[in-house]
Amino acid sequence: MLLRSIYYSLRRMLRGYVGYVILILLPLAIITVNGFAAAGDGIVVGDEHGRSGMEVISVGIIIAFQLVGGFYTMETIKADLFSEKRWRMLSLPYPIYIHAISILISSVLFSVLNGSIMVLFTYWVFDVNWGNMGWVILVLMLVSLVSQLVFLIAVTVIKRYKIAEFIGYAYLFLFMILSGYLFIPVPDIALIDWINQYINPLTLGETAIIYQMQGQEMSEVYRSTGMLFAISVLLIAFMVLFGRRRYT
């Protein structure tokens, strides 16, 4: 039943053409414009890894848009379970949490699919060397899972949708700011370093991909990936315990 539900949820998402614009065309436009602008004479000033501007922008933007993909879970849950449609869904001989899980998994797959298309595009068109593609997709999947879980928890724990939506935006912008992606100066304090090292899915994903791309400090790659996995497990546990409002 779960697989059937995932199949139809994914099918619905694949028909949402606005989603492609937001999750593929927009980031590709940002990568293209900023990548070329940042590339300059080939090396970005200040990048301690010696990466090209296009590589810096590509990795950052593609991971950041995995975070944006969390809105898919939130919006689909809202459409199916917090609108009039919930009465039909509740009338089915089908535990409603299975539907929520199917939306979560479909959103992760959809988001990773979009991310993968961008990875391949930047690989072929801009010569970004991603290293092990399988590893890149695994990291994108974990970043997306963390993000979808955060949005799912927000929408199922918080009573008012508007507040849940605000928390989604706050999550998105907070971690982007802490990662240094919005050109807002971040104070050099231990707490922020700690958040970026152990909690921020954007920096964890970035670390797991960058070191892997360069084939160095693989322990950092494994640590960051492990942290993303651990955060996912914690969020799932939180979801099971607290995320069950408004279903009846």
Binding site: M1, R4, S5, Y8, R11, R12, R15, G16, E84, K85, W87, R88, L90, S91, L92, P93, Y94, T248
Partner: protein
């Protein structure tokens, strides 16, 4: 055989009792038309019956089994047609039916056959591959019904299935409901359109303020309010207040209403006031026309609830 048995149902929202000790039974193979003004509790009753909300007290049995102890099993035998169109707009008509049929456990050839039959039943075979976004209001309504029918439920609950559609689609839906009844489906049908209930329902229940205040066939309900006599007149001269008071003072008169030169006099049954009323009106200038009105479901509703049904749009 009793398919639905609701006993002493109470459902509260805060201090408001949406269902206040409701009793209701539905016999197998019947169409029960459920009528009620705004806030009467019709939708709450439907949601309770379909296991969508938890009741505060009382008992609901479906097909002889207690609802809250067999909820998933019983949901398989119910189809709910929601008030709003609640299909997936980004799945085709066929995919919608495949999704819902699949949830009810249909697979493979059986699922395909049921989907085809249901599309044909609601007249959407040629639109099977289209998205509902391209459908007219009536077609969306028919797909909405189809999604509740694909698993062939024994009990079909229809919550105002014809709201906002053209007369042609409405007739199509009403014909389909009759066909379903002929095939043995038991149907609970709520609507604001009295003529629909009069046309299709074998039993009628009227709800008001969380109670089922009357239930029976149309003839039985009319018989229950036959204790009233209605005389409608069109008079020559504009009636004066003195004339209206004189009519009100007649023996057995319960209510006199006036709209321009039209007067309606409601008396207790057996008052036989026609002659008396005519005599008074003649003295005041004469009668242009007179009729003793045949009672309708609308009169039953008005008598029992004190409201016209059109006051009660949206429950």
């Amino acid at each position: 055989m009793t398919i639905v048995y609701m006993k002493d149902i109470v459902k509260r929202y805060g201090s408001f009792r949406a269902l206040d000790h409701v009793d209701l039974e539905i016999e197998e193979g019947t169409i029960l038309g459920l009528l009620g003004p705004n806030g009467a509790g019709k939708t709450t009753l439907i949601h309770s019956l379909a296991g969508l909300i938890k009741i505060d007290s009382g008992e609901i049995y479906l097909f002889g089994k207690k609802l809250n102890e067999n909820i998933m099993e019983l949901k398989r035998q119910i189809g709910l047609v929601t008030q709003e169109v609640t299909v997936f707009e980004d799945l085709t008509a066929r995919e919608n039916l495949e999704f819902f049929g699949g949830i009810y456990g249909l697979r493979g050839a059986e699922l395909k056959q049921r989907v085809n039959e249901t599309l044909s039943f609601v007249g959407l075979t040629d639109k099977a591959k289209s998205l509902p976004t391209k459908f007219s209001g009536g077609m969306k309504r028919r797909l909405n019904i189809a999604c509740a029918l694909v698993h062939r439920p024994k009990l079909l609950i229809m919550d105002e299935p014809t709201v906002g559609i053209d007369p042609q689609s409405r007739n199509y839906i009403l014909d389909s409901v009759r066909k379903l009844q002929q095939q043995g489906t038991t149907i609970l049908y709520t609507t604001h359109y009295m003529e629909e209930v009069q046309t299709i329902a074998s039993q009628i229940a009227i709800m008001d303020r969380g109670h089922v205040i009357a239930k029976g066939t149309l003839d039985e309900l009319i018989e229950n309010i036959q204790h009233e006599e209605r005389i409608e007149l069109e008079v020559v001269n504009e009636p004066t207040s003195e004339l209206l008071v004189e009519l009100e003072n007649l023996n057995g008169v319960k209510q006199v209403t006036q709209d321009s030169k039209n007067i309606q006099v409601v008396s207790s049954g057996g008052a036989e006031n026609v002659d008396n009323v005519l005599e008074i009106i003649k003295k005041a200038g004469g009668v242009r026309s007179v009729s003793a009105k045949k009672l309708t479901l609308e009169d039953v509703f008005l008598t029992l609830t004190g409201k016209t049904l059109r006051d009660g749009e949206e429950d």
